[in-house]
């Protein structure tokens, strides 16, 4: 019988190894799997390459993972936002590497990684410093830059409802990177607010079919990053 449910968040992230590439869902706090990130901090894996659109806020969640020196390299489109001081300080002191990728190219590289497309051409970044050193090719009279698919060892994502097959649906704009990160990771680890019976999710509305999901853990009342930042909390 297929049952992807894992009983604890700590068990769900137990095998993330030093040096792993980890995609973390979320755009700002929307969709951020904060409990899984905190479990990863507890677990201790270090020298990680992390792929997320941003670098977290305050001293919790992704920012805490970075602050605890677990991240060797960030691949993201926008590493500074309101309340993000952790990444900038480490970056300025040369203690963390940054691969800056335009947001749409980042999304498409992740989708390509998950879809078995090793590389594709896009017009984004042509004529800018971000295409320096990359292959440029003219196709039908326009210049495009070659970009490569991105894969990960693990992805940590958050959803609204899941079943034991790993079928997922999301809440509003918390969907963002989660479906493509589930596709692009060898092991996709999901925290869900609700766990439902097989057949409860209409097959017409499933956003992430279970084939892309490996582990599901229930976090019925997830913390909100903005609440923790406001309360000046830090993790651990």
């Amino acid at each position: 019988m297929i049952n992807k449910q894992i009983s604890s968040i700590h068990e769900a992230v137990a095998d993330i190894h030093d040096g792993a590439t980890v995609m973390i869902g979320g755009f700002g706090e929307a969709g951020s799997p904060i409990e899984l990130i905190h479990a990863l901090i507890d677990q201790g894996a270090k020298n990680l390459t992390v792929i997320n659109n941003n670098t977290g806020s305050g001293h919790v969640g992704l920012a805490a993972l970075i602050e605890n020196k677990r991240v060797a390299k960030m691949i993201c489109s926008f590493p500074r936002t309101a309340n993000s001081t952790v990444f900038p300080e480490l970056y300025k002191s040369g203690n963390i590497e940054l691969e800056l990728v335009p947001q749409g190219t980042l999304a498409e590289r992740i989708r390509a990684g998950g879809a078995g497309i090793p590389a594709f051409y896009t017009a984004t970044s042509v004529g800018t410093p971000l295409c320096e050193g990359k292959e440029i090719r003219a196709i039908n009279g326009r210049d495009y830059v070659l970009e490569y698919g991105l894969k990960a060892d693990f992805s940590l994502i958050k959803c609204l409802k899941a079943d034991r097959y790993g079928n997922l649906i999301y809440n509003k704009t918390a969907r963002n990177f989660a479906p493509i990160m589930a596709m692009a990771a060898t092991t996709a680890i999901v925290q869900t607010k609700e766990f439902v019976e097989i057949g409860d999710l209409d097959p017409e509305i499933i956003v992430t079919p279970g084939i892309f999901v490996d582990r599901v853990v229930i976090v019925a009342n997830p913390l909100l990053e903005s609440d923790l930042v406001k309360a000046e909390r830090s993790y651990p």
Binding site: P79, P102, Q103, A123, N176
Partner: protein, 216 residues
């Protein structure tokens, strides 16, 4: 003349830009002043706003008590979804952008050159943390790019220039610029004045523009 009282306010710039968005357009709004455009759809028009974090049919700020921290725009501000809206993931969202399905994008700018080059992501300062977001995807993919920006920097430097000194976001992408001083088109012959803001005359706006401005 006093810089404080002539020209358009930030809201007026957004309102002016909104006049140029036709009925039925699909529009993406950048972070900052462009976000305000959502409020100023002229009467009788229906405009569908796209936010690249996965929503088509973005509405204005929610009323108190209606906020959902998982319903935000690209600027990570709380928003609403209109009836007829749709959610989707980031790759599908940027397929709308890259695939030229969005009609108009309204962005902020650090500099715009007279051939329409846009610089809005980096000053090139080696000590700054580079951050680009979706700006390069938007200028490469959206059919028409509008810019809303203060005409000059806080220190009084021109933002409309002959050539951008900052790293580019995209080459020859901007069509029209809305500033506190007026509306300027990017034409084959360079910047061309379309309209002056209240209290602004041609010499005033030309003096604050980094290259020749063609009269309206």
């Amino acid at each position: 003349m006093n810089d404080q009282i002539i020209g358009w306010s930030r809201d007026q710039m957004a309102e002016r830009a909104a006049q140029d968005i036709p009925d039925g357009a699909y529009v993406n709004l950048g972070i900052g002043i462009p976000e305000k455009v959502v409020r100023y759809v002229p009467a009788g028009r229906e405009v569908i706003y796209h936010t690249e974090n996965g929503l088509l049919g973005m509405g204005d700020t929610p009323e108190a008590g209606q906020e959902d921290p998982e319903l935000i725009n690209a600027g990570k501000r709380l928003v609403t979804a209109i009836p007829g809206a749709a959610y989707f993931h980031h790759a599908d969202s940027f397929a709308m952008i890259r695939g030229q399905h969005i009609d108009i994008c309204v962005l902020g700018a650090m500099q715009v050159s007279q051939n329409g080059d846009l610089a809005n992501w980096s000053t090139g300062d080696p000590d700054a943390i580079p951050a680009v977001g979706g700006a390069m995807d938007l200028v490469a993919g959206v059919k028409t790019i509008y810019v809303i920006t203060q005409h000059c920097t806080r220190s009084g430097d021109a933002k409309l220039v002959a050539n951008c000194s900052f790293p580019l976001t995209g080459q020859a992408v901007v069509s029209r610029i809305y500033t506190d001083l007026g509306v300027i088109d990017v034409t084959d012959d360079g910047f061309k004045l379309v309209e002056l803001a209240p209290g602004v005359d041609f010499d005033y706006i030309q003096a604050r523009t980094g290259c020749p401005l063609l009269a309206a």
